[in-house]
């Protein structure tokens, strides 16, 4: 198991008070905190070898280029990508999905084609496909969720047809915590000759992934949710696909030869990395991955399972609380969404205490959770609620912090009990 106390020493931010209470940071689904090694990597870069890459032939530039390119190898190793050149650095997961929607989608999707998503997709894995579908007169379909908040696998086979060109599914729901059977869906997609994209923004940080084994065609994820800095995302794509696609963002570094009226493209991955990349943060992201590898992704997952089991038990004991999710640590990551009801509240929103009220009150108790639609408005509509309160865990969280959450939820009830 993890030595959480030791891990916490690496995260200076956790050791602070919010409204005079110790901070319980349970908003890891939004973004994770960063260990010292990651922050130091940034400082170290700027203090010793900051320079533009791929361009200079002086010493600093060589060092920076080597460090930056080395992270491609680290990332490839982490997700078991066969070739570091299959790793493209973007700003975030959102841009990675957009890259596919523009560079692959504009070329390969046409009238009547279908793109299959799920009812639990984050806006970042939905809106790019809406825009593409609208432009190309293609159709979006959605794998529904069951009563149990898991994907309705029985429906998938009917929904994937010969018209389906792409299946794009989140590895783990950022609202429900549900972990989806991506390998199985990959098989179904490929049987229908559709490509398979995984939104790994939540899944990769908490369970890792083996893209070779899952056999996905694209994987999008984001550094800031996995101990890395803001401003770095990753698109993994199979080499052959990346080679066939058109460029997306164009400019310096992504070209080979340029004339006034035309240009030829650099090889993958440079073809997709126009302009000066986020060098410092990519380098720091390498440290984040090494930190996770040192801990071991299995240990990360096990720690979160334990926290999730504990939190589910505690929250189920709390009166008047509805949990949206499988309520089973085997089927869900460290994310728990819930709504809170209390006697006498207005029921016009389908719940009794609005998640924003919950969020504001628990913050007064030092507990950081997120409240709202979590960029999943269609899912909220399906569930008939305006939003949820969401607690989400990572390697540095403790059972005591979950106790602090349930204590704070008691305060919420107290406030509204005055009704």
């Amino acid at each position: 198991m993890l030595n959480v106390q030791k891990i916490r020493e690496d995260f200076p931010i956790l050791n602070q008070k919010i409204h005079d209470k110790p901070l319980a940071y349970l908003d890891n689904g939004s973004t994770s905190q960063k260990p010292k090694v990651v922050i130091d990597a940034i400082t170290n870069y700027y203090n010793w070898y900051n320079s533009n890459i791929h361009r200079g032939i002086h010493t600093l530039s060589e060092k920076a280029t080597e460090a930056y390119e080395n992270v491609r190898k680290i990332v490839a190793d982490f997700i078991k990508a066969p070739d570091p050149e299959e790793i493209i650095f973007t700003r975030n997961a959102t841009e990675a999905v957009n890259l596919v929607a523009y560079a692959w989608g504009r070329k390969n999707i046409s009238t009547g084609d279908e793109i299959l998503l799920t009812e639990m997709e984050h806006h970042s894995n939905l809106i790019p496909w809406q825009i593409l579908a609208k432009e190309k007169k293609a159709v979006l379909r959605f794998i529904p969720i069951t009563q149990n908040f898991t994907l309705d696998l029985d429906k998938i086979e009917d929904l994937i047809t010969s018209k389906t060109k792409l299946v794009a599914v989140t590895q783990m729901s950022n609202v429900l915590g549900t972990i989806n059977p991506v390998k199985k869906i990959a098989g179904l997609a490929h049987k229908a000759k559709a490509l398979f994209l995984i939104d790994g923004a939540q899944g990769v940080p908490h369970s890792g992934i083996d893209v070779a084994n899952v056999n996905c065609d694209f994987l999008a994820f984001t550094a800031h949710k996995m101990l890395g800095p803001t401003g770095v995302g990753v698109l993994y794509g199979k080499k052959k696909l990346l080679e066939e696609m058109d460029p997306f963002i164009a400019g310096g570094s992504m070209i080979l030869e340029v004339w006034q009226d035309r240009a030829t493209w650099n090889k993958v991955p440079y073809k997709y990395e126009a302009g000066t990349p986020n060098i410092a943060d990519v380098i720091a992201f390498g440290e984040a991955i090494k930190y996770l590898q040192n801990i071991g992704m299995e240990n990360v997952r096990n720690h979160e399972k334990e926290l999730t089991a504990y939190a589910l038990k505690k929250l189920c004991e709390t009166e008047d609380l509805t949990i949206y999710g499988p309520k089973n640590p085997e089927l869900q990551g460290g994310i728990i969404s819930f709504n809170f009801s209390a006697k006498g509240g207005s029921d016009s929103v389908g719940i009794d205490i609005h998640p924003h009220d919950v969020g504001t009150i628990v913050d007064q108790e030092g507990v950081a959770i997120r409240a709202g639609h979590h960029c999943c408005q269609p899912l909220m509509r399906k569930l008939g609620i305006p939003g949820t309160a969401r607690a989400s865990f990572y390697i540095y969280n403790t059972k005591e912090e979950i106790d602090q959450l349930t204590f704070a939820l008691g305060k919420v009830k107290e406030v509204f009990a005055r009704l």
């Binding site: 509240g345 207005s346 016009s348 924003h356 009220d357 504001t360 639609h373 406030v415 005055r418």
Partner: protein
């Protein structure tokens, strides 16, 4: 009083649990929608005006306690009042919610003053403002004899 009690005053919770002037009004009363999509707050406001006076107000709201209570308190504050008076109340209310520093109203805001506690919670201010921004657009529409556009806050 703790900060949180200052926000969730009893009067706010009371308006949240028993909202005043809930419901609809038939045409020709003005009907205008407002939404705070990022929060999920929504409302429909109905105003019946005659000779520059607001005769009746009804509102249907969905949302957090602050947005609902603010809407309910607003209906009480404006019903029966002349539009000029209402404009002054709106101005004072917005100043109270948005201006830095301490605030002295130029009209009697009555129960509305309990919403000043929201100021300490910057992300919640727009919850308190939704009904008011909708009212502002509604009054403009009345003045211009136009069908009002829905109000969408970011």
């Amino acid at each position: 009083m703790s900060a949180i009690e200052d926000l969730y005053r009893e009067i706010i919770l009371d308006h949240y649990s028993s909202p005043r002037n809930r419901g609809e009004l038939p045409a020709p009363a003005l009907k205008i929608e407002g939404a705070n999509p990022l929060c999920g707050d929504e409302l429909v406001l109905y105003i019946e005006e005659k000779d520059g006076q607001i005769k009746q107000v009804k509102i249907n709201t969905k949302g957090c306690s602050i947005s609902q209570a603010s809407a309910s308190l607003m209906t009480e504050a404006i019903v029966g009042k002349k539009i000029e008076e209402i404009q002054k109340i709106i101005e004072n209310f917005k100043d109270m919610m948005l201006k830095d520093g301490s605030f002295t109203p130029t009209v009697d805001l009555g129960d509305l003053e309990v919403l000043e506690g929201v100021k300490k919670y910057p992300v919640r201010i727009k919850c308190a403002l939704l009904a008011w921004n909708t009212l502002i657009e509604g009054l403009k529409a009345l003045q211009n004899h136009k069908k009002p556009e829905p109000v969408v806050m970011e």
